[in-house]
């Protein structure tokens, strides 16, 4: 798609911030479990939610990058890939909620890592000198 270096770096930075926020949430959940403020089942739920959030963002990025790589034209199969990804996501969430046995609060906390990552990226950009 002919990306220039700053945008590629920006997308990479955003991805890194999302991973960092997932790590922060997991660390917070670990501290809460270690302090006895939460049950042990919070941690695997948070891990599962964070993995689903990061995987979902990664797949959205890949599908849209591939779709817009045609230089002004949207490539074929974009809609099919996006719908298949969404159906897969629904299936995974159903399996996790129904049969996973994870703590739902931890699961929702892990899913929120995307929001925290975007917030971290926005805050870090606001401190840049040319922002």
């Amino acid at each position: 798609m002919g990306r220039d270096a700053p945008d590629r770096l920006s997308l990479r930075a955003l991805t890194n911030r999302i991973f960092l926020s997932a790590g922060l949430i997991l660390a917070g959940a670990g501290v809460a479990v270690a302090a006895g403020a939460a049950s042990v089942s919070l941690l695997p739920g948070a891990v599962c939610g964070a993995a689903i959030a990061c995987g979902n963002f990664f797949l959205i990025r890949k599908i849209l990058e591939r779709a817009f790589s045609g230089g002004g034209t949207v490539t074929k199969g974009f809609v099919v890939q996006y719908v298949l990804k969404f159906l897969g996501l629904i299936g995974v969430v159903y399996l996790v909620v129904r049969y996973g046995g994870f703590d739902l609060l931890g699961f929702l906390l892990g899913l929120s890592s995307l929001f925290l990552g975007v917030l971290l990226e926005a805050v870090s950009r606001s401190f840049e000198p040319n922002a």
Binding site: M1, R3, D4, D7, S10, L11, L14, I52, A53, N56, F57, I60, R61, L64, F68, G72, V74, F86, L89, I90, V93, Y94, V97, R98, L104, F107, L108, L111, S112, L114, F115, V118
Partner: protein, 110 residues
């Protein structure tokens, strides 16, 4: 058109809210109480995911339409439009997934 649709949607929502309260209130507690609670749970799950899907679809549609329009008007700005569009789509989808999780939890209580 959109205002009329919004008004109709809100009226339908109000109707369902009132009906669900009435459904929960009527009947004897010993015999029909459990089924009434289940009916309200089913209504809550269905309408919760329906509203979330409606809002998410509207948001994603508007985001993609605006992004594509911006790229079509100014193809050189594709890189600057692309990243916020990805982030917006991911955030909207996450909100719908939240509602989906809650709906699954509610359905599990039936």
């Amino acid at each position: 058109m959109f205002r009329r649709f919004t008004f109709s949607f809100l009226v339908a929502l109000l109707f369902v809210a009132v009906a669900s309260v009435a459904l929960a209130a009527e009947g004897t507690p010993a015999a029909g109480g459990d089924s009434n609670v289940k009916a309200v749970i089913a209504l809550a799950a269905g309408f919760g995911i329906a509203i979330a899907a409606f809002g998410g679809a509207m948001g994603q549609g508007k985001a993609i339409a605006a992004g594509l329009e911006g790229i079509a008007r100014n193809p050189s700005a594709q890189n600057k439009i692309f990243i916020p569009m990805i982030v917006g789509l991911a955030l909207i989808e996450s909100l719908v997934i939240y509602a989906l999780v809650i709906a699954f939890v509610l359905v599990g209580k039936l």
